[in-house]
């Protein structure tokens, strides 16, 4: 079926890119769920994860080590960010916090440029490069890793937030910080945890995609912005929504590029963002304001 053949490939490319956006959207969602802050530096966590893993791999060519190392380092960065950049804020209005996280993103990007230069770097894929064939379409093993891990993480996180005490405590903090404290939740601990978790997720996403997209100091900016758009589209309060938003975004981009125009592909994310903001601000699955 010659007409359908490219459609299947668009679908697969869309899903695989969408999974990347979904992972990043999850990062946004976790911090938002605990603190109602939007962390515009999330994209840079992704970038740092990829770059750290690449550096570690250059020193010791072991992928598991690189993955672990990258994830741990960036989680620490996330904790440091919370402690140094957000905790001491004197007048914590949403505006102030937005500007701080935006500034942090730029800062981290600048640091990355100093550390790694402007070159692009490769990371070997986790299980080989041989593409798999699904009919006339192809998918890479690395794409399967991304899809698989996204699924696993979403389920794990949903379970965490809904079923475990700690997860519920984190959500309580987002609803009402004072009330949460009153019932004995160590709010600051929860906030720290959310940042560490979010950074961990971002780093993991970065390491997963580096074999596909190459690691470079400015890879985080667009990814962060699109991941953010995905989170909004799906609904900030809902993790499942973030994933849905991400997948939808990936598919929309892929089909737009294939069927309409490849030049306006990047605009799709932000067009959808505007549409959602104006028609249904809480997003597809978002419950709360």
């Amino acid at each position: 079926m010659p007409i359908l053949a490219p459609l299947l490939q668009y679908f697969i490319s869309g899903l695989t890119n969408g999974a990347i956006y979904a992972l990043i959207a999850l990062g946004f969602g976790i911090i938002f769920n605990t603190t109602t802050i939007i962390n515009f530096a999330q994209g840079e966590f992704v970038m740092l994860g990829a770059m750290c893993a690449i550096s570690i791999y250059h020193l010791a060519p072991s992928l598991p080590l690189a993955f672990l190392g990258g994830v741990i380092i960036v989680s620490l960065v996330g904790l440091a960010f919370e402690r140094l950049a957000l905790r001491p804020v004197v007048a914590a209005s949403p505006l102030t916090l937005i500007i701080i996280t935006v500034g942090a993103g730029v800062f981290l990007k600048g640091v990355a440029m100093l550390l790694w230069g402007k070159e692009s770097y490769t990371l070997p894929p986790f299980s080989g490069e041989a593409p798999l064939h699904l009919g006339t379409a192809t998918i890479l093993p690395q794409n399967l890793w991304v899809l698989g891990l996204t699924l696993v993480l979403v389920l794990a996180l949903e379970a965490f937030f809904r079923l475990t005490l700690m997860g519920k405590a984190m959500r309580a903090c987002a609803y009402n910080l004072r009330a949460a404290r009153l019932v004995g939740i160590a709010a600051s601990r929860m906030v720290q945890l959310s940042f560490a978790l979010s950074a961990l997720l971002g780093a993991g996403a970065g390491i997963l995609i580096a074999p596909l997209t190459l690691g470079v100091y400015d890879m985080g900016t667009m990814l962060g912005l699109k991941g953010f758009a995905a989170a909004i589209i799906g609904g900030l309060g809902s993790l499942l929504g973030g994933v849905l938003g991400g997948l939808l975004l990936g598919l929309a981009e892929s089909f737009t590029s294939g069927l309409i125009s490849s030049g306006y592909r990047d605009a799709v994310a932000f067009l959808l963002l505007l549409v959602v903001l104006f028609l249904r601000p809480r997003g597809l699955l978002g419950g709360r304001q």
């Binding site: 490319s13 402007k118 890879m219 089909f255 590029s257 490849s262 990047d266």
Partner: protein
Amino acid sequence: MRTKTWLVGWTLAMAVLILAPGCGQGSKSKPYLIGGIFSITGPQSYLGEPERHSMEMVAEEINAKGGLNGHPLKLVIYDDEGDVTKARLDAEKLLQKDRALAIIGPSLTPTSMTVLEITQKAKVPLISCAAAASITSPAQERAWVFKTAQTDQMAVSRIYQYCQKQGIARVAILTMSTGFGVAGQEQLLSQAARYGIEVLAQEVFGEKDTDMSPQLTKIRGTAAQAVICWGTGPAPALVARNLKQLGLTLPLIQSHGAASKKFIELAGEGAEGVIMPAGKLAIYQQLPDSDPQKAVCQEYAEKYRARFKAPESSFGGYAYDAQRMLDQALEKAGRDQAKIREALEGTKNFAGVSGVFNMSPEDHNGLAAAAFVMVKIEKGQFTLID
């Protein structure tokens, strides 16, 4: 009361910031002051950095030998960060503050276009390292502007000549949404008919894009016999990868923007079999000794590698050629800018890294399609095929 403090304070602060660096700038000092504007930081830093390094390398050599006509060379190089506003400011600075005799750069087409507006007005020679033909044409309006980078026009001619020889008559083009890519797209479309080539698909991708499989999938659906990709930086390497990953067996022809070792490194297995036009620097070892460019390329490559511990690049070569050509002109003309311009215009048979230059009043680039050779990547190395 506050406002007065603000205003006075601001004026003083501005005065200090603006004037302080300008103090003590004499324009009658002995050295020949040459300006450089490159995209040293920013997304196109892979152009600007080697260009800056090459310029510095040449100046160091000259100064070690005692300078030109006894005058040392002094370089003042600014970073335009790939930004048009900054490039303009940098050019103004070089002309007004530093009083540069001539300027080499910028690295990109848009920045070159804005800089040449004022260098033309100020009657200061400019040697650009950017690719677009519109930098040096129409010739009447570009009397003071030269360029050392090969024109996209020639690259496309070379590619289409090769296609003709290989019997490829239907192509799909995939171009980057940057100045370089758009210029390439224009050339690919306008020259196609002349070589009997039909362009069946015109796709684009962004500089920072990481997945071009939708575009390639669309191309796969056409009857194209080859894919021509036009871009610089990491994205074309990803195109090569995506092509291989999708299982497309079409030959991939890249632009000369991909003629670097970095491309081979980033494209990994996708690099095998990719064809592109390249300056002779890419394969100088495979040139016959009788080729006038072989010695120059070898010297440049070895010196650059030794000095900067990094692989040589053809982009750096543009600045290398520009500086050497300028040095030749300075030797003849001294400080007289009109004479420098004339000397540059009269450059003949100048063997550079980018080609053999033959400037003339109508052609301020001085290169022909022969500046390019066709190369193929085999087993991770560039191999001369045409």
